[in-house]
């Protein structure tokens, strides 16, 4: 396939080469390639050029923008300088003004030149220029006007004011124009940048395309040209090779022809010689065959027999003419003829050797067995017919027949179970084997006095009927009576060629009527005397054959032994049957007994299986199961119990069940459970203890067990580990607590938000009048007042301050300020607060107890706000202890929970229960001078620190406040 396709490929190239020669193709390809390169280069250059101009344009726009910016700047500065000169009269301002004017003009000129390519921008610059010129002229006029500013009044003249108005109006316009200019320029700039980017990408694309294209063209032309050269070489080689092959073939053919000619001449010579030899050898063969004793025959290729040797003709007693063709087959035994024809035809058609045995009629009318072997014969390579030879195998055949008789008898005897069965088959086999037509089996009676016909056999049903009539049941021969009786008596075989001439046949009339001629009788002896006879009859007259008689006699002996043995066997069989009957009876008895036993066994097994099931169930239950006697002594515990509690059955068996014997279980509970169990069972939760001392909550269920008589004999308990259930319950409880807390917080926050909205409105409304009061008071205070009025005024001012502070707190409360964190030493802070109130406490007879650790870690807190919180709490405590008491401040650092707990307790008057909920609400106060924001603000501050606040109080006992602050996460 490959070579074929390669050839096709080559052909295609050759064709291509013919149409477009290689020498022409290569320059054309290169020309096309160069042209493409040049076109691509031109396009690329143009693009780069375009890109360059774009970049220049962008640069230009940038310059315009920058210029605009400078102009803008100077425009603002010009009036300032002018005003500076007007006010101060300082000439430097004027000089600056002048130089600025010149610079601006130059700048405008530059702008003009820059925007010369854009008419709309150019026009804008022109209008800008005009406006500017107007401004400058107005400004110059204003400078020349010397009586403009009155230093005394500090006011400008009307002229100046007008000029300023005009300039400012112009400036606004100028601003607009510059804005427009810069806007336009920006949009231009944007467009140009986009365009540049677009061209840039197009150029890159072109360069890539050009590269790919040129490489493809070079590669393709190289590939095609190399292929063309290669194929040209190949085809030249092919041509050379095929030419050489052709020359070779011509010379070969010439020599072949010569050789054939010589061979033909030689062959014709050989053939003449061979024919001569054949003729000679045929003659010799015939001579040889005629002198042989073996029967020889020859056929032609049309199955016609052409030759029989002398021995053959002597055997049949016929002439060659009679036998030729297919004449000789008349002599084949009719039984064998078909088989012979079949074999002969098959072999002949296939031209293979054959071998067949058949009986051929001899000169004395007797059929003799021959073994005929034929082999195909060839003349040269051509089939010429068959040659065959026959050997006399009569003797062998006879022996075979005798052997067959022996074999059949032996086989029949071996296969038969009874004498009856055997006798029928024996008779049939013997008659068939010897080729006789009819047989009778005679049996002697038990006393061996008479002999009676027992069985007839014939191929013909009619014969049997006839003989049954002839030899009926009443027929019997005593010893020496007739043909059969003689055999019975003598114990020797007898043969008669013609029964009609034999006077010993008593029933001769009947026999000869049916055409029976030959008769034969064989005695069957048990070794002592004749016990049976086999008689055969033939319709032909057959000469006595001693060898056949010998064979049959020996067979008779064999049969005799068989019959004797069978008789003995039958006796045994009877005995055996009797025995068997007895055995059966006994077996039945035994079976009955056995089935009874089995039934009992089955019932037992059911019970045992049930027991097994129960024990497996108890074993595999995951809850601990135990059984005790009535005194709580262990009888059984399951695997789960052993694994759970660590007590094993063998160590606690007979002892009190450890569930109750543990030292931690109170005797009261034990007795209670036991009593309940005995009554109706007990179930409930209790803590149980393992061997290693650990405990867990469990659910125990107990009950008593009755025996089959209904008496309570033991107790059973099932114990379930409910640790997980308990844990879940605990978790639920905690979650619920958190939920309630969150809910409270939400309500509080909502309240706070409402308050915020309200207070910010109020604050504004109140602060306006407050500002008035305050400001006016301050103004009055500046005037000359007597002392009395001065004091009154100061009261007004300080009251305004108080009012303002309330508002501030209220605002703070509603919208708390964010915290300002810093690292704070809590112990220092608390000690500082306590130090501050020490004097006051002393005077009120209050004892301060401090439990504040020294070396506390720094906490990240809003110091000022928290200080206020603690100050507020401590002040409240002190106020609640008018008649003395103890103030206790305790700080605990809980590193495990990661928090600091601050406890402030007093022995003051306490808070009534109804008020405890309200203390955090704004404006709730029991003090005469309190605002009611302190506690709320403090709570808020603690919340902002992610802390927890808790208060406990009882009237007459005191109040305890607990604040918990987290150690970490304070920077959030």
């Amino acid at each position: 396939m490959t070579s074929q396709s390669k050839n096709k490929f080559t052909e295609r190239f050759i064709r291509l080469d013919r149409n477009l020669p290689l020498e022409k193709f290569i320059p054309v390809a290169f020309l096309v390639f160069l042209l493409c390169i040049i076109i691509l280069t031109i396009i690329t250059f143009r693009n780069i050029d375009q890109h360059k101009t774009d970049l220049e344009k962008i640069d230009h726009s940038n310059k315009v923008l920058a210029q605009l910016e400078i102009v803008n700047y100077r425009l603002i500065e010009i009036p300032f300088n002018k005003r500076g000169y007007t006010i101060t009269g300082d000439k430097t301002h004027l000089l600056k003004f002048d130089s600025l004017v010149i610079k601006v003009k130059a700048d405008i000129e530059k702008l003009k030149s820059l925007t010369s390519d854009n008419p709309s921008q150019h026009n804008l610059v022109f209008s800008l220029d005009t406006l500017l010129s107007e401004n400058i002229s107005v400004l110059n006029n204003a400078i020349s006007d010397t009586s403009v500013y009155d230093i005394n009044t500090g006011k400008f003249s009307q002229n100046q004011t007008d000029a300023i108005k005009f300039i400012s109006a112009n400036l606004t316009e100028i601003n607009e124009i510059t804005d427009n200019l810069s806007l336009n320029e920006h949009s231009l700039l944007k467009n140009r940048i986009e365009e540049a980017a677009h061209i840039n990408s197009v150029t890159q694309l072109f360069i890539i395309f050009a590269g790919i294209f040129s490489f493809t063209v070079i590669g393709l032309s190289l590939f095609i040209s190399s292929n063309l050269i290669k194929n040209k070489n190949e085809s030249e080689n092919l041509l050379k090779k095929s030419y050489g092959e052709l020359e070779n073939r011509v010379s070969e053919r010439t020599s072949d022809l010569k050789e054939t000619n010589e061979k033909l001449q030689f062959e014709s010579l050989v053939r003449i010689k061979a024919e001569h030899t054949i003729r000679e050898s045929e003659q010799r063969f015939r001579e040889m065959a005629d002198s042989s004793s073996v029967l020889v025959w020859i056929t032609d290729k049309d199955k016609q027999f052409t030759y029989f040797n002398k021995a053959s003709l002597d055997f049949t007693g016929r002439t060659l003419e009679m036998e030729s063709g297919k004449g000789w087959t008349e002599g084949i035994h009719p039984d064998d003829l078909n088989e012979y024809k079949k074999v002969f035809k098959n072999s002949f058609d296939k031209k293979i050797p054959f071998e067949i045995e058949y009986r051929l009629r001899s000169i004395n009318e007797e059929y003799l067995w021959l073994l005929d072997k034929g082999i195909p014969r060839y003349k040269g390579s051509e089939f010429a017919g068959y040659t065959g030879s026959c050997i006399d195998i009569n003797e062998r055949k006879k022996n075979e027949r005798f052997l067959k008789i022996q074999y059949d008898i032996s086989k029949t005897l071996a296969e038969s179970d009874s004498i009856k069965e055997a006798s029928g088959n024996l008779l049939k086999n013997i008659c068939r084997d010897i080729g006789w037509d009819f047989g009778i089996f005679w049996f002697a009676d038990e006393k061996n006095e008479y002999i009676k016909p027992d069985y007839f056999w014939s191929e013909d049903e009619e014969d049997i009927n006839l003989f049954s009539e002839l030899y009926n049941d009443s027929m019997k021969f005593s010893k020496g009576m007739g043909f059969t009786g003689t055999i019975f008596k003598e114990g020797k075989s007898m043969w008669t060629k013609d029964v009609s001439t034999d006077t010993s046949f008593l029933k001769i009339e009947g026999l000869s009527k049916k055409g029976w001629n030959s008769g034969l009788g064989i005695p069957i002896s048990n070794g002592k005397e004749t016990i049976a006879i086999i008689e055969c009859f033939n319709k032909k007259n057959i000469e006595e054959k001693q060898d056949l008689i010998d064979v049959l006699e020996s067979a008779g002996r064999q049969i005799g032994i068989f019959i004797e043995r069978k008789k003995a066997e039958e006796k045994l069989k009877i005995l055996y049957l009797e025995m068997e009957e007895k055995v059966k009876e006994r077996t039945a008895e035994l079976a009955q007994a056995l089935s009874k036993l089995i039934q009992e066994g089955e019932q037992k097994e059911i019970v045992q299986n049930k027991l097994k099931l129960f024990s497996h169930a108890v074993k595999s239950i995951k809850d601990s199961v135990f059984i005790t006697d009535l005194e709580n002594n262990t009888i059984f515990v399951n695997e789960a119990f052993e694994l759970t509690y660590g007590y094993y059955l063998n160590e606690i068996s007979g002892k009190e069940i450890p569930l109750f014997s543990d030292k931690n279980i109170s005797p009261v509970l034990r007795t209670y459970i036991n009593e309940k169990t005995m009554k109706s069972g007990w179930r409930g939760e209790m803590t149980t203890y393992k061997k290693d001392g650990t405990s867990f909550p469990s659910y125990l269920s107990t009950s008593y067990i009755r025996d089959e008589n209904g008496k309570v004999n033991s107790l059973v308990g099932i114990c379930q580990d409910i640790t997980e259930i308990k844990n879940v319950e605990e978790e639920l409880r905690k979650t619920n607590e958190i939920l309630i807390e969150t809910q409270n917080e939400l309500i509080y926050n909502e309240k706070l938000a409402a308050l915020g909205r309200f207070s910010s409105g109020v604050a504004h409304e109140i602060r306006n009048p407050l500002a008035n009061i305050s400001s006016l008071s301050q103004l009055i205070a500046k005037t000359v007042l007597d002392e009395k009025n001065k004091r009154r005024l100061n009261y007004i001012i300080s009251n305004v301050e108080i009012a303002n502070k309330i508002i501030k707190n209220l605002l703070n409360f509603a919208t708390p300020e964010s915290l300002e964190f810093s690292n704070v030493n809590l112990s220092d802070m608390l000690n500082g607060v306590l130090d501050g109130v020490e004097a006051r406490c002393k005077s009120s007879n209050i004892k301060i107890e401090r439990e504040i650790p020294e070396d506390m870690a720094l906490l990240n807190l809003d110091k000022l706000k928290l200080e206020n919180v603690f100050m507020n709490f401590i002040a409240n405590s002190i106020e609640s202890m008018n008649s003395g008491g103890t103030l206790k401040v305790k700080v605990i650092e809980d590193k495990y929970k990661n928090e600091v707990s601050i406890n402030i307790a007093d022995t003051g008057i306490g808070i009534p229960e109804g008020n405890l909920d309200k203390i955090l609400e704004p404006f709730f106060t029991t003090k005469d001078d309190g605002v009611g924001l302190g506690m709320g603000l403090s709570y808020q501050t603690i919340k902002l620190h992610k802390g927890k606040f808790n208060i406990k109080s009882a009237v007459g006992t005191g109040t305890e406040i607990n604040v918990k602050l987290p150690i970490k996460n304070r920077t959030e």
Binding site: L65, S760, E765, R767, L770, N772, Q778
Partner: protein, 131 residues
């Protein structure tokens, strides 16, 4: 010295502030709403505006924006009764120069006004986009 414009809806406060400023030798005018304030500012005579954060109709922050549109160079001092950080930040972002809460200290107010008037403002610079 330039004129000062006071914008406050509270009639009494307008009176108090005018008294205070005139006592300190300053020239001022007080108006009660945004529209009047804007028409005054567009006259170009004022060197400073004192502006209340809460006004009827147009609120202080909106007014501040409008004023800055007319004249970006004019300094504005905001006046507020809230005193919260959020509105302060908003106002400063909107271009207010400073901030003072009600009630205020008279001397502090005068100091702030004077220092503001001395200030020189610079216009923003246009940023050229990079290429």
């Amino acid at each position: 010295m330039k004129k000062i414009l006071i914008v406050d809806d509270n009639e009494f406060l307008r009176f108090t502030l005018t008294e205070l400023l005139e006592d300190s030798g300053m020239d001022c005018l007080a108006v009660g709403d945004g529209i009047a304030a804007l028409s005054e500012v567009s006259k170009g005579l004022y060197g400073l505006v004192i502006l209340d954060l809460r006004l009827p109709g147009m609120n202080g922050l909106e007014l501040l924006k409008k004023i800055k549109e007319i004249n970006i160079l004019i300094p504005v001092i905001m006046l507020s009764a809230y005193g919260d950080v959020k509105s302060v930040v908003e106002a400063i972002k909107g271009g207010a120069f400073d901030f003072i809460t009600k009630p205020f200290d008279n001397d502090a107010m005068i100091r702030l006004i004077k220092s503001t008037l001395d200030l020189k403002l610079v216009k923003k610079i246009v940023v050229i986009p990079e290429i």
